[in-house]
Subunit: 217 residues, 2 copies
Amino acid sequence: MSATTQPPSPSTRDKLIEVARELIYLQGYEATSVAEILEKAGANSGSLYYYFKSKEDLLLAVLETYKEMLWPVLLEPIFSKVSDPVERVFALLDGYRRGLEYTACTAGCPIGNLALELSDHPRVREKIAQNFEGWCRAIQKCLDEAAERFPPEMDRGKLSKFVLTVMEGGVMQARAHGSIEPFDACVEQLRDYFDRLMATAKPAARPAEQNSAKQTP
Amino acid sequence: MSATTQPPSPSTRDKLIEVARELIYLQGYEATSVAEILEKAGANSGSLYYYFKSKEDLLLAVLETYKEMLWPVLLEPIFSKVSDPVERVFALLDGYRRGLEYTACTAGCPIGNLALELSDHPRVREKIAQNFEGWCRAIQKCLDEAAERFPPEMDRGKLSKFVLTVMEGGVMQARAHGSIEPFDACVEQLRDYFDRLMATAKPAARPAEQNSAKQTP
């Protein structure tokens, strides 16, 4: 697109967001230059600054896109295949596992990367937090649907945030070791915690079956 | 120091590592330029390239320094005040909490930052993994000292890695939200898991006291 008085087409805006999203995911925000984004998007700086005041504003649009992608791209494809609410949580974690495998453990969660890189950028930090909150709400909805399987005193909102924490920490360990094994170990440990939580909930509901709930149908 | 045939003093090497460590911690690796390191260290590029072949080699030296700091700077000050092995684990997590508070949740674990920024740099990744492994060994030593308080089937090596995962994930959440609250919530959840593990270990050792171990002295 040449620098005329015509505004750049809305598709240019989408293209800039898409290219920025990919480059920032793979390289980080600081390591990605505006020039690189423009070149890969086939756009000029006039188009970029027509839609975005700054590189940071473009990043905010990228983070808004991630929020919009949560249901159709991340959750729906998994939840449509798995109906048990607790298994949906672990199926989602398995989705991150596949992402790690696909990139040979060099790339993990785009939001997690930005959380550590840009926590001193208040506007960015806020949009990162919104992304995490949307993710946790989806997990909490699963846990709420399985409420009777957890001890009544368990705060399922906090537990949903713990799932996110374990996912992000597990992704970090896999990337640090260049191996999926630490991620698997973390998910296994989380599963152990869930099993223990659910085992203690059952005897409380049905005291007569204590310690034999797993054996009797 | 001027560019003479005299080699730069070893203290210049230490100064370069110290300055690089601080700048990379606060800004990230990509965002920290060699020029900035030289200026803050009061050194010239000849000194830097006398000791380090590249910026990445300087980072490797920084990561080696973190390994050396693990015991005297991170662990010893905490372990000298807390003797109970399980409480040592939580006292260490509290140390990270203080770090978050000190930086208003803008900076957390320097190794975690680099793990997400540089997982595609094999030599760096390896040194990051070594740092994590040293940390986990220290935690596992604590858990091993309290072995009889955990269920016998519990893999304490894996549990030590889970503690690291929760710490790193909790630091990320605190930074994303600009608040210590998510970190506290994660540690509280980990404490709940530990409590449940330790509660199940006790009845197994003393079956007669099952479900009343906490009430009877």
